[in-house]
Amino acid sequence: MLKAVPIAPRADETLARAQAGDQAAFAAIVREHQSMVFGLAYHVVRDRAVAEDLAQEVFLDLYKSLKNLESAAHVTFWLRKVTSHRCIDRGRRERRRLEIAVEHVPEQPVLSSGRDVLFENRVRQLVAALPVGARMVLTLRYQEDLQPSEIADTLDMPVNTVKSHLRRSIALLRERLVRQGGLM
């Protein structure tokens, strides 16, 4: 199911031009979606170089699949889906390198007010310790603000599994952060 987001007709025109072989139009699509794709990849793989490589591969796939896409909303849905599946595949292949045991994450003093870089880093470290599927669910929930049913569509996962991942992951993060005094 496509996420019902308002997308300007101009985006559909850009897609049509890209489908007709206009490289500038395709570049505009890349620029429009690059922070979404790179962000999804970066939050899951935790490595800027790997995230960029993965994001580039996603856009190469997009270029090859342009003729199958019907609208700008379809492009957004397709990019989220393909990026998520690629992230999960990559994360599973590199599990040993990427997943840090929660017990080994060093505890740091964290402030809880305002824009707290230490807090964000701490959250990212804790998220990195989660299984890749749970990481992907959290990233789609909080980066893309998707509802559990939309996440389920994106990941081809039962909606109850998505809800379960969210409940357990959020509880774990909250518990760890409270224990470290970073959350009141």
Binding site: A18, Q19, A20, G21, Q23, F26, A27, V30, R31, Q34, S35, M36, F38, G39, Y42, H43, R48, A51, E52, A55, Q56, F59, L60, L62, Y63, K64, S65, L66, K67, N68, S113, R115, D116, F119, E120, V123, R124, V127, L138, T139, Y142, Q143, D145, I170, L173, R174, L183
Partner: protein, 109 residues
């Protein structure tokens, strides 16, 4: 700020390093485009090639069958003519034997 809001901040979208789109386009230019309308010479897809091969094979089979049928018909006709000749010679031989027998009987009288 709620825990959800904190998480949204921690999971904000990230911009890739500068020049990302140019690097994507450079990689595309190194690969064969297949998802956009081709402006170069049209080439046959594997599906079309298989159809052409199947049609060519059927044409060869039809020509070979026709030639086999023609040669078989000629052989049958040859056999029929040979049989007619054999029967004709046999009849002529029997008639000659009959005439010879009558000539010998007339001579003995």
């Amino acid at each position: 700020m709620s825990f959800d809001d904190e998480l949204r901040r921690a999971f904000e979208r990230k911009d890739p390093p500068a020049g990302f789109a140019d690097r994507v386009l450079a990689r595309i230019s190194q690969t064969q485009p297949s998802g956009v309308e081709s402006r170069g010479p049209q080439t046959s897809s594997p599906f079309q090639v298989r159809w052409i091969a199947a049609i060519a094979a059927l044409a060869v089979l039809a020509v070979a069958s026709s030639q086999y049928y023609s040669s078989r018909q000629a052989a049958l006709e040859e056999e029929r003519v040979k049989e007619q000749l054999r029967v004709s010679l046999q009849i002529a031989s029997e008639k000659l034997n009959e005439v010879g027998r009558k000539v010998r009987e007339y001579g003995e009288r």
